[in-house]
């Protein structure tokens, strides 16, 4: 079940990310773009985007665990 407590936890975890991390992840996940496409869209180096996606997901996981979700 999509429980709102988890939804709210994800919302808070996303807010813990940098703008660059959050935007790269959103475009890749919700927009369905490759990281190369995301780099084009954001006019940023591909290396920056793939690093932000990775670091953002790791920080997202850490933030969720901190809230007691995902362990």
């Amino acid at each position: 079940v999509v429980e709102l407590t988890e939804g709210e936890a994800v919302r808070r975890a996303l807010r813990a990310l940098s703008d660059g991390e959050r935007q790269a992840i959103e475009l890749a996940y919700f927009g369905g773009h490759t990281y190369r496409e995301v780099a084009t869209i954001l006019d940023q180096p591909e290396g920056t985007v793939k690093s932000r996606i990775r670091s953002g997901l790791l920080r997202l996981r850490a933030a969720l665990i901190e809230q007691g979700v995902g362990e």
């Binding site: 079940v1 773009h33 990775r54």
Partner: protein
Amino acid sequence: MNAPTPREQDLDALLGAYALDALDDDERARVEAYIESNDAARREVDELRESAAALALAPVDDLSTPPALWDRISTTIAPQVAEATGPTAGPGDELAARRARRGWSSRWVGLAAAAAAVAVVLLAVQVISLRGDLDDARSPDSSALAARYDRATKVDGARELELVASRGSEVARLVLLPDGSGVMLNDSLADLSPDETYQLWVLMGKAQDPTVISAGVLGPAPQAASFKTEGPVVGFAITIERAGGVTSSENEPLAIGTFA
């Protein structure tokens, strides 16, 4: 432990994009070969995928990407994708093409069309603010869940939908409110093993060519779910996925329903 080589560092940097299924085919193949032989990379991918699965629970109205950026997507990416996918792909087809490459196949479209005859019940009884109730939809009390569903159906403009299996029987139902929030009730979805989960998908855009987006992971034994959508919803579908859910499914939908 030896320090990672430059090649390994390069592949490690791709693990996040791999977990989001945001790699080109050749890079995905390279990463898959890499994680087959690297335990640490495989563990990291597992962790990253957990984060990716959690994104399915993110409230849609909380996305930060500004509308102007989405406009840039259509103007920037569309020509490239159109070139890559052939002359039939026109402006605006970029995401459909992308998702098609990821495994969304025409079978979804066909099933959606086949289910188009599913009855839609439009209720306009009275306006009730259910936002707070829907935000608390998960509850061990099944009678409370049913009560919330019933109240949601009475909201002005609420739309009910039956999700029907291929054999023709209704397995779940949902109500979608005008603000994009909704509640789903399980009627006859059987419990799955712990390593599996039901996943709810929302079909957006055109009924004949929907864009399919995860609406949330339902767990192996769902009773009810609350969800949030944004934009023109044409239907919903349910698949069975591995525990934790997936960002895009290659499985046949177990049940599907579309609004008339």
